[in-house]
């Protein structure tokens, strides 16, 4: 067994690498800058975790999504790694100071883009040995990416002080344009690029046009009560997650809803129940998915047109991690295009907002947080007219993207081909079960659901306590 496989087995408990993992890890260890694009569920975390055990010094991981960061820290801890810390706005001043003083004792240092401006942090970083820097969710760097984080752009300036340190950029979805942005922003020198096909052959695509919301509900009830999960039903509002869960529950489905407004403890319990198989379905907003480590999800249903193709790929990608046949269904009506555009534009600054931002110093009271954050950034970089121009362009692109997604669903062309094409990729091997435009014998893909005779059991705390703990 070679060294890499040995570490893989010993630290992570796997026998062999997945496609691409080994190549990338070797390049990281060899001291190369690397851009790696791997679809969701293909083991991205391992790419930055494993080399850490073969190199001296700490690994700094810049991660723009706080919930994702917490999950990554948790996953490392579950693997038994104690030398891991997340430095972000959740820490108090005292906690940060304490971490800064002992920075070199951490092998994995996670941080948010905001923290890169913290002088005390940078000072502490300059005093320790850094093996390599990881830019996670690197597509957020690009304004063309689906969740652009202006703060993340500040990483360019920050990296100047680490010119000798190599950078590993990771993302699940990126068009070639986004890849170019990533390479420039991260000051990469002839990086090794690994672009895994975004195709997930085990996932079949199904597009279903219906008349209205009522038909959607009827379709969903029909599908969920007659075929097997586990599955996730994605919808766009908290209210709708509750409505769907309620309707399905009435029909004997073990289901729960999930959205960001729930108490954290309840969210954890729902995730856990789904993971452990106590629930068949989750009706969720896009807040659900990060931190779900479940291999056997068989169905993903969208009751709407998503606001971006990349986010759609990410949500769909949660199915079939075990490689077994799964299906992604998308229900839409003709008016859903406008709805998608409306949702996408919710936090988007209007021309008046931009003018306001340039006139006053504090706009946080009048505009949503995301908008404020984006405008605060561009105010420093561009003139008023340029910013207005920029956002007009982005808006047009967004509209075009949503329209093209709508076209993909409606026309007669293979969905898989079109999705891949959007990411500048050609389909080379068409799987047997491709999409509803090719051929999709549903009865071969979907397994019939067996109604469990479920009687509501009385609660008996003594019995449950006996199940939890041995006497």
């Amino acid at each position: 067994m070679d060294k890499l496989t040995e570490v893989l087995k010993y630290k992570f408990g796997y026998d062999s690498f997945r496609e691409g993992q080994k190549e990338i890890i070797e390049q990281v260890i060899a001291g190369q800058d690397v851009v790696a694009i791997l679809p969701t569920g293909m083991g991205k975390s391992l790419l930055y975790q494993l080399p850490g055990y073969l190199m001296e010094g700490s690994i700094v991981i810049v991660s723009p999504l706080l919930s994702l960061m917490q999950d990554q820290v948790e996953q490392l801890k579950i693997l038994g790694e104690k030398r891991v810390v997340a430095i972000n706005s959740f820490l108090s001043f005292e906690q940060k100071e304490k971490v800064f003083r002992n920075l070199s004792s951490y092998k994995f240092i996670f941080t948010s883009p905001e923290m890169l401006q913290n002088d005390r942090f940078n000072h502490a970083l300059s005093a320790i040995r850094i093996a390599y820097i990881v830019a996670d969710e690197a597509h957020c760097i690009s304004q063309w990416g689906f969740d652009f984080r202006p703060d993340y752009l500040r990483i360019a300036k920050w990296l100047q002080q680490f010119r000798q340190t190599n950078v590993l950029a990771l993302t699940a979805t990126a068009t070639s344009k986004v890849v170019e942005d990533i390479k420039t922003t991260l000051l990469m020198r002839e990086p090794f690029e690994y672009i895994h096909s975004l195709d997930r052959p085990a996932i079949a695509y199904e597009a279903v046009e219906v008349k209205d919301a009522k038909e959607k509900l009827a379709w969903i009830i029909g599908r969920v009560t007659s075929t097997n999960g586990p599955g996730i039903l994605y919808t766009q509002s908290r209210k709708k997650t509750e409505m769907y869960a309620h309707e399905l529950q009435k029909r004997g489905i073990r289901v729960a809803y999930y959205h960001a407004k729930m108490e954290q403890d309840d969210r954890i319990l729902v995730q856990q129940q789904f993971q452990q198989g106590q629930l068949e379905w989750i009706c969720a907003t896009n807040a659900f998915g990060m931190g779900i480590h479940k291999d056997n999800i068989r169905q993903i249903i969208h009751d709407h047109i998503p606001t971006s193709i990349a986010s759609y790929m990410q949500e769909v990608g949660r199915a079939a991690r075990d490689g077994a046949q799964s299906i992604a269904s998308l229900l839409f009506t003709a008016t859903d295009v406008e709805q998608a555009f409306y949702v996408a534009m919710q936090d988007f600054p209007e021309e008046a907002d931009i003018r306001l931002a340039y006139e006053s110093n504090d706009i946080s009271l009048q505009l949503p947080e995301t908008t404020t954050r984006i405008l605060d950034y561009w105010k420093e970089e561009l003139k008023e007219q340029e910013t207005i121009q920029l956002f007009q362009t982005i808006k047009q692109k967004k509209w075009a993207e949503i329209l093209s997604l709508y076209t993909m669903l409606q026309n007669e062309v293979c969905i898989r081909e079109q999705l891949l094409h959007y990411f500048d990729e050609e389909l080379t091997n068409r799987p047997k079960y491709c999409c509803s435009k090719c051929s999709l014998p549903l009865q071969e893909i979907l397994v019939e659901r067996k109604q469990r005779s479920e009687q509501k059991e009385e609660m008996n705390w003594k019995i449950k306590l006996d199940e939890l703990l041995l006497s």
């Binding site: 917490q70 948790e74 579950i78 693997l79 729960a256 729930m262 108490e263 954290q264 403890d265 309840d266 954890i268 319990l269 729902v270 995730q271 856990q272 129940q273 993971q275 452990q276 106590q278 509501k456 609660m459 008996n460 705390w461 003594k462 449950k464 306590l465 199940e467 939890l468 703990l469 041995l470 006497s471």
Partner: protein, 344 residues
């Protein structure tokens, strides 16, 4: 049903002398002079800060229902219980709460316990890799230290801990629903706890009802936990009781009083209004009955105020002041606060 009755109880205690937001601030544990003073005036200690996360919309919805049912009457400045409302609570079981000293921190105890049970259960199932149900680093650290000191790998500790828990839950002040909520909220090996929503729908109750029952359950259990009876569980209560019930600001004022400064001097030193310092005095007296108030009002005057309050059956400052125009509102408030200490 449960929360509704609890609200009626609280409204009843306010004796029709406060506005419809007063119960909300009480349950949220608002640290304002008014709320804290009312706690003492109306003997509301059990309910103070009972549920700091209570959403305003939820509260308002319940109040609207109470009104629609004719259980309460309200106008802009007052809310009072009606005959019909009183009828709803005459024969109910009196709830047990200990809000004044716990203030929402019973959930720290719960979090520790929940994570310990999960850890023991996972280890007994031989699955040492699991996602913890609690995310807070403080709780992780606490539980780690606790378990490491206990030799928790041994089956004897597990069964010992379970026995204590079992015994604790047999407390006869608890209803069966308390015990079920408590245990079914717990998670372990291949066995996940239930969400509030799931617990509520099982019992055909509201989510708020279930939460307040759960909090009551914790308060009853905590009241029973002593070091002698439950040595291990007692460790989990560390630091959850409020030691100094004063707000930080009132605490500072209190320290300055101890050094002999007057209200005016303290106000000047701290760049605060005298009104604010007076609120602090009320807060200090509420928390510490032994605090001397002779500097602000004589004993004789206190007795006069209390006499009028009793005779007129009111705690309304305006009515009392009409009879004792020489006293300030502050002095009357002080006398009423002190009076509750004497009577209560």
């Amino acid at each position: 049903m449960y929360f509704q009755q609890l609200l009626l109880l609280i409204i009843h205690k306010f004796q029709g002398e406060r506005s419809s937001t007063a119960p909300y601030y009480l349950l949220k544990g608002k640290k304002s002079g008014q709320t804290i003073q009312d706690v003492t005036y109306f003997q509301l200690h059990p309910y103070f800060s009972l549920y700091p996360k209570l959403a305003k919309e939820t509260y308002e919805e319940f109040m609207k229902n109470l009104h629609a049912e004719g259980f309460i009457v309200m106008n802009e400045s007052r809310v009072a219980i009606t005959e019909k409302g009183l009828h709803q609570i005459v024969s109910i079981r009196r709830p047990f709460y200990n809000g004044w000293v716990l203030r929402g921190k019973e959930f720290i105890f719960w979090g520790r316990l929940e994570l310990i049970v999960q850890t023991l259960s996972q280890f007994q199932g031989n699955e040492k890799k699991f996602v913890p149900v609690q995310k807070s680093n403080e709780i992780h650290h606490f539980v780690k230290v606790f378990l490491q000191e206990k030799d928790f790998h041994s089956s004897s500790f597990g069964s010992h801990f379970k026995k204590q828990l079992f015994h604790l839950l047999e407390n006869n002040r608890l209803l069966e629903i308390h015990r079920n909520l408590f245990v079914y909220r717990l998670s372990g090996y291949k066995n996940s706890g239930l969400t509030w929503e799931q617990l509520a729908s099982h019992h055909h109750l509201n989510v708020v009802d279930v939460k307040f029952l759960f909090i009551e359950c914790l308060h009853i259990l905590l009241n029973d936990i002593t070091e002698e009876k439950y040595p291990d569980l007692h460790v989990l209560t560390k630091g959850i009781y409020v030691q100094n019930p004063l707000t930080d600001s009132a605490s500072k004022t209190s320290q300055l009083f101890a050094k002999g400064y007057s209200i005016e001097e303290i106000a000047r030193m701290r760049f605060l209004k005298e009104n604010t310092i007076e609120d602090h005095v009320i807060e200090i007296v509420s928390a510490d009955p032994a605090f001397p108030i002779q500097a602000f009002i004589s004993n004789e005057q206190v007795q006069k105020v209390l006499h009028i309050a009793r005779e007129r059956q009111t705690k309304k400052l305006k009515i009392i002041r009409e009879e004792l125009p020489d006293l300030s509102y502050f002095q009357i408030r002080l006398a009423l606060t002190k009076g509750e200490e004497i009577n209560g």
